[in-house]
Symmetry: C2
Subunit: 347 residues, 2 copies
């Protein structure tokens, strides 16, 4: 019988027996040490040490109704902007004693809903989603569970839920404005897949709106959608230039796509920016050291992660149900890939 002691992991009860106190005291010693006499604390710590006791999180969660767990769902972790945000979110959550449960939606709203349900089962006390466009079931579940939701990467002053992010439409507009100022009249857009991605949709809307205001049209054929990969960007650029050779300005959905487009331009013998201007989005760290230096819009992903952690913790600990709508600024960073299309005139 006693043999079992060595094979079974020690419980709070074992610690209590060993230290000659009650389980209540051991529990207090762990969670509210100041309520336990010094001498007992020492005995208990010794017991914990020699038995190699490790608390049982599930039991604690069940009894205390606290999981100290936050859920986050990003489209994919394998995109620098999301991994940067997650890095900071995770780091700050950990500092405050919370655990991050991370899931990926692959840019699918249905998949996102499934992940939300799974996270809810696991008892998350807060949820972070990307964008503000979600399956209705997500909102229903959030309401029922009464946990704070923060939508990141999006800013909407009227949102019913908290958001910490950028104004995507305005950012798209700003890029278009820059290129229009350089007197471009023939545009192409290489966007990420729009379905399930409200950020990309909003940016495209911003671009279209600004072009329209300046009397510049943008045909459907001049907007290409593809996955966020360098190779996809390269192929899209080739397709764009085949069907719309007069294009002098290409707005890309992110930096990776822009690097692919740049690659295609090289292959086509087009000089940048003399023949064609190309813009990115995000200002990921790596592009600071590559040539030609990419004109892009920065995206404060780390700040987003850190601020989200801070908000959520305050929301939970302060029992503060206030909705926060926070707009983080973006800056157009003009470098070497945009300019006047001198070589090919201004048709």
């Amino acid at each position: 019988m006693r043999r079992e002691m060595t094979i079974k992991k020690p419980t709070l009860q074992d610690v209590a027996d060993y230290a000659g106190v009650s389980t209540a005291t051991v529990s207090r010693c762990l969670n509210q040490p100041d309520k336990v006499k010094q001498s007992l604390q020492e005995k208990i710590r010794e017991a914990i040490e020699t038995l190699g006791y490790v608390p049982h999180g599930a039991a604690r969660a069940l009894a205390s109704r606290r999981t100290f767990t936050i859920g986050a769902i990003v489209p994919t972790i394998d995109n620098a902007i999301f991994s940067e945000a997650i890095q900071y979110l995770q780091r700050d959550l950990t500092k405050a004693g919370y655990t991050l449960l991370l899931a990926q939606s692959s840019y699918s709203l249905d998949e996102e809903l499934r992940e939300v349900q799974s996270l809810l089962t696991q008892g998350i006390e807060g949820l972070v989603l990307v964008g503000e466009d979600h399956h209705q079931g997500v909102f229903d579940a959030i309401e029922q569970h009464r946990i704070p939701l923060v939508n990141i990467w999006t800013y909407n002053p009227e949102s019913k839920y908290s958001c910490i992010g950028i104004d995507n439409a305005k950012a798209g507009q700003r890029i278009a404005e820059h290129l229009v100022e350089l007197e471009h009249r023939h545009f192409g857009v290489i966007s990420g897949i729009l379905r399930g991605n409200d950020r990309a949709q909003q940016r495209l809307e911003g671009i279209k709106q600004h072009l329209q205001q300046n009397g510049i049209g943008l045909d459907d054929g001049e907007v290409l959608e593809c996955r966020y990969s360098g190779e996809q960007g390269r192929l899209a650029m080739h397709e764009l230039m085949t069907h719309h050779p007069q294009t002098t300005a290409v707005i890309c959905g992110n930096d990776i796509l822009a690097l692919g487009a740049l690659c295609a331009a090289r292959e086509l013998g087009l000089s940048v920016p003399e023949d064609i201007s190309i813009t990115g989005f995000d200002d990921i760290e790596i592009i600071a050291v590559i040539s030609p230096a990419l004109t892009t819009m920065n995206s404060p992903s780390r700040r987003m992660g850190a601020q989200t952690a801070e908000y959520l913790i305050q929301c939970i600990e302060g029992d503060d149900q206030r909705v926060e709508r926070c707009e983080l600024g973006t800056d157009l960073i003009v470098r070497e890939t945009t300019g006047v299309a001198v070589s090919r005139g201004r048709a």
Copy 2:
């Protein structure tokens, strides 16, 4: 009293009452449906639907002694190779009904130990770590909890624990060999921080060994350590060329450092590879579309993630305690940044 029903989340008991069955039956309906009569299943599903029941993970974990949770600790999630591996690990774990608990160690073995303890509290049924060099406390804890550990990114046929990764020393050797074949005699190494990073240490050992075999020395001053960032690589390259201007071959710890070094070479007016050869490591996706195309060693991070998920699941479900030591191959991908140093002779 009844008012509480609307404010409190429904439990299994509520579902059972509503459906007119016992909690045992509801539980079976959820976990082993084939053991429950069809007609009852329908009633129960209806009850779940109308009450909006969501299972309580902690209670389930406590009662069943299963958490369906796997822990993984990477140095940082903000490095393409780790985020790629995690993406696949996460995806495949999710498919199999497991949840990934992700933590970051910031390349600190002490921090790693702390995270391991936290994960253990949360009841992980398996653990994934990067490298084979860990705090002794990690091994002790793993032994005590009897959970499978797999060390990734490392391959050691004698390892006591499972490993799925590459032979880092061999990879380092292979890079050095390539450059020696191109008749380089003056080397520089821009490595990641070595402390707490056995992969980087092993690669450096492999490089040193091969150079030594060919009568080429490598002074301490010719090995620079820096964080994995483009800017750090750029600065290190400047320092290297200031103190060792005769250098014709620079081996970088990863692709990001190599891009930084390439940037510095441009700034210094050095042609690549005519004046100097530069190599990376990892073959991250993005470098496929940038110019000059980087010579590098590929690192099968996605395969590592997927294979780790597969092994762990089999280990847990098959109750198979077999230790697996799996070497994933690497390939030297020779592109445009390495060649004979024609311009500066072969001193």
